[in-house]
């Protein structure tokens, strides 16, 4: 069955590719059908994982799969998001190659979650990376290449780790590392690099903003929401399963990683403020959220791991919701630039509501899915007694308020642009994911306990204690959070506030030109304060913003390119130079063997 969960995507990709040639909509529809099967197969598979080893490849290497609870958790998220993204793709009338590559990347992702040995993991990781890049390599070559190169650096590091482990232990199976001969930290660093890159935790994030911004709009939700989870999955696996012994005995490592995560969350949040492209903004927001995840994993208490997994789930829900909204908006407006939109609330109310809930969740405001995870992280860091770390992630969450507001204001609020006077609400299929994602967004916010049920079982597999909870209420040693209580109180408070509002005289809607502008009529003047929204922050952080790790990586890449540029002068085109090389090589060999060659 696990096999078919994965194979369904590959098969479906090919079928959709063929069928999308005559009609793109049919292709998308067929892809949707094929992508629903894994969902259908995964949902009941919760009761007990199973192990499956079979040799697809009759070679001395083989592939094996298993369904663990952790894998199931992420696989379900991924399968759901992928199916939803196809609705959006249906509206966007994506072509056959997109369907093929996105299906394949989804299949690759499933393979990653269900792999039982390192090689399988690596193989599907590669497939996922390549085919997700192929979805947009045609339109945006630069960012696709950037993405794929970062991924390859990561996955080859993983490959190296895999080879080292295989050399030392003689097995490729994913098991806790025991009897390993070499240096564990080195192997672990290599091992997690791939996932580090994939989850776009700093300093290996520079691929993410451009890749998220440039990937097809219907694919980005899956890209950001699910694909990055493969990184989280790998990190969880590395820290709490494979290298658990090392991780538990070396607190410094976890502490440093927690700092990396916290700073990622903070810095990415700050960068997100300054973006003018909605997708770039969301990309940085995504990085920021994954910074929280990394932070929680680094802390390594059961509370923080649960928090991380919850944030991962929450991120999958609201980040993809936000990206879906951008996709829906793009269908109608043809732009993702914040500076070019505005006032769309009047034209696209459903999208607005979705975005509103999305940003509320992204800002981590209860009772939405964004909060419980963060709450657990705060509790965990407090429990550990790291106030500075707590401060860092709290600062990061403030940046979330900032960029969230900017996002919703720039797109939906403010004056309506002239060119969008005739815009309609997005087509229905593009709205389906928005509406469907609102359900988990609110449900898991009100009843976080249902998620914690699952994460508890996962934690128990890793030998950690669970987090005490009831369906609505989470308890830590330090405090409580009752999602339902917050929800009910909020509802009651809203009723009160609304009554106060409703009791008094009705208001009259006025045109947006009827604005206080010191008596002037601002006709033909943009009243949309949107460019350089947070200019003052940029000004204050000028020195800091100049430090970009991307510059370092670019410098390395440029260095390699320049090295190639210099070294290829060796092929000078002059035959006599070539002869000289030959002679020199002969000379070199004779000097090399001068000890032996003495007659």
């Amino acid at each position: 069955m696990t096999f078919w969960v994965i194979a369904s995507y590959f098969l479906g990709g090919i079928v959709a590719y063929v069928l999308a040639r005559p009609s793109r909509k049919i292709g998308a529809f067929v892809a949707l059908l094929f992508s629903i099967y894994p969902l259908y197969a995964l949902i009941p598979a919760l009761d007990g994982g199973f192990y499956l080893r079979f040799t697809v490849i009759p070679y001395y290497l083989h592939l094996s799969f298993r369904l663990t609870l952790l894998g199931w958790f992420f696989a379900l998220i991924a399968a759901t998001l992928y199916s939803l993204s196809l609705f959006s793709a249906y509206s966007e009338k994506r072509d056959s190659f997109f369907l093929l590559s996105s299906m394949f990347s989804a299949g690759g992702l499933m393979g990653v979650f269900l792999a039982a040995d390192y090689l399988t993991l690596f193989i599907f990781f590669e497939i996922m990376a390549f085919f997700s890049a192929f979805t947009f390599i045609r339109e945006h070559r630069r960012s696709a290449l950037k993405y794929i190169i970062y991924s390859l650096v990561g996955s080859y590091a993983f490959l190296a780790a895999l080879l080292v482990i295989n050399r030392s232990t003689g097995s490729l199976e994913i098991t806790p590392l025991s009897g390993f001969g070499g240096s564990v930290p080195a192997v672990m660093s290599l091992f997690i690099l791939a996932f580090w890159v994939k989850s776009a935790v700093m300093p290996f994030h520079p691929w993410a903003p451009s890749a998220y911004a440039d990937s097809p709009h219907s694919y980005t939700p899956f890209f950001s929401g699910a694909l990055s989870k493969s990184g989280v999955y790998g990190l969880v696996l590395a820290f709490f399963y494979i290298f658990a012994g090392f991780f538990k005995s070396h607190h410094a490592f976890g502490y440093i990683f927690a700092w990396i995560g916290a700073l990622t969350a903070l810095f990415a949040g700050i960068y997100a403020l300054l973006q003018d492209d909605a997708k770039k903004l969301l990309a940085y927001s995504s990085i920021s959220q994954l910074g929280y995840v990394a932070f929680g994993l680094g802390l390594g208490t059961s509370l923080s791991i649960t928090g991380s997994l919850f944030v991962a789930l929450g991120h999958a829900v609201f980040e993809s919701l936000l990206f879906f909204v951008i996709a829906a908006v793009y269908i109608r407006t043809g732009t993702t630039m914040l500076t070019e939109m505005g006032g769309l609330i009047k034209k696209m109310p459903i999208s607005f509501i979705a975005l509103l809930f999305g940003i509320i969740a992204a800002a981590g405001i209860p009772p939405t899915v964004g909060f419980p995870g963060k709450w657990m992280l705060y509790e965990a860091v407090l429990e550990k007694g790291y106030p500075l770390l707590a401060g860092a992630i709290f600062a990061a969450s403030i940046t979330a308020f900032l960029y969230c507001y900017r996002l919703i204001y720039s797109i939906f609020l403010g004056p309506l642009k002239k060119e969008f006077r005739d815009v309609r609400e997005a087509p229905f299929p593009a709205l389906v994911p928005l509406l469907l994602l609102l359900i988990p967004l609110l449900f898991f916010g009100l009843f976080p306990g249902y998620v914690v049920d699952v994460t508890d079982s996962i934690l128990r597999e890793f030998g950690y204690l669970g987090v005490p909870h009831t369906p609505a209420k989470l308890l830590s040693g330090l405090g409580t959070f009752n999602g339902l209580a917050v929800g009910i109180t909020m509802g009651a408070a809203f009723v009160i506030a609304f009554l106060v509002h409703a009791v008094f005289s009705r208001s009259r809607k006025v045109s947006e030109l009827n604005n206080y502008t010191a008596g002037e009529v601002a006709e033909g003047v943009s009243m949309h304060y949107v460019a350089d929204f947070y200019k003052f922050i940029e000004r204050e952080l000028h020195g800091f913003l100049k430090l970009r790790v991307e510059a370092l990586f670019n410098w390395i890449a440029e260095g390699i390119g320049g090295l190639g540029e210099v070294l290829r002068r060796v092929y000078a085109g002059d035959i006599q130079a070539y002869l000289v090389y030959l002679i020199l090589f002969l000379g070199f060999l004779f000097t090399l063997y001068r000890g032996v060659l003495r007659w």
Binding site: A572, G573, I575, Q576, L579
Partner: protein
């Protein structure tokens, strides 16, 4: 062995001279001559391997122990033929290059590089 050292030495020297010519001359024809010299040197080396002082031609009616080794001679014959073929082809190239480039200066042949 030792008695043939002068042959070895001179044949290697000849090959080296040929290589030197190929390295230093710019004219394609001269380079071809250099290559030929080099080949001749190697051929001489082969011959001198089989040479025995006072040996006779390897014809079967005299005792074999007196004869020089016949194999290298056979080899050299083949090698010479091959050398001729290479030289011929090289000269053809030279003619064509002169047609296209108007020069035989090998350093001008740098259309393709890097």
């Amino acid at each position: 062995m030792a008695e043939n050292i002068i042959f070895y030495g001179s044949s290697i020297a000849l090959a080296a001279i040929g290589l030197l010519i190929a390295l230093t001359r710019r004219n394609l024809i001269k380079i071809i001559i250099g290559l030929d010299l080099m080949e001749t040197g190697v051929n001489m080396f082969l011959i001198s391997i089989g040479y025995r002082r006072g040996g006779t031609a390897p014809i079967f009616d005299i005792p074999l122990s007196k004869a020089v080794d016949p194999v290298p001679q056979a080899l050299v014959l083949t090698a010479i033929v091959i050398g001729v073929a290479v030289t011929a082809l090289a000269l053809t190239f030279a003619v064509r290059i002169h047609e296209k480039y108007g020069t035989l200066d090998i350093s001008k042949l740098r259309e393709m590089k890097w």
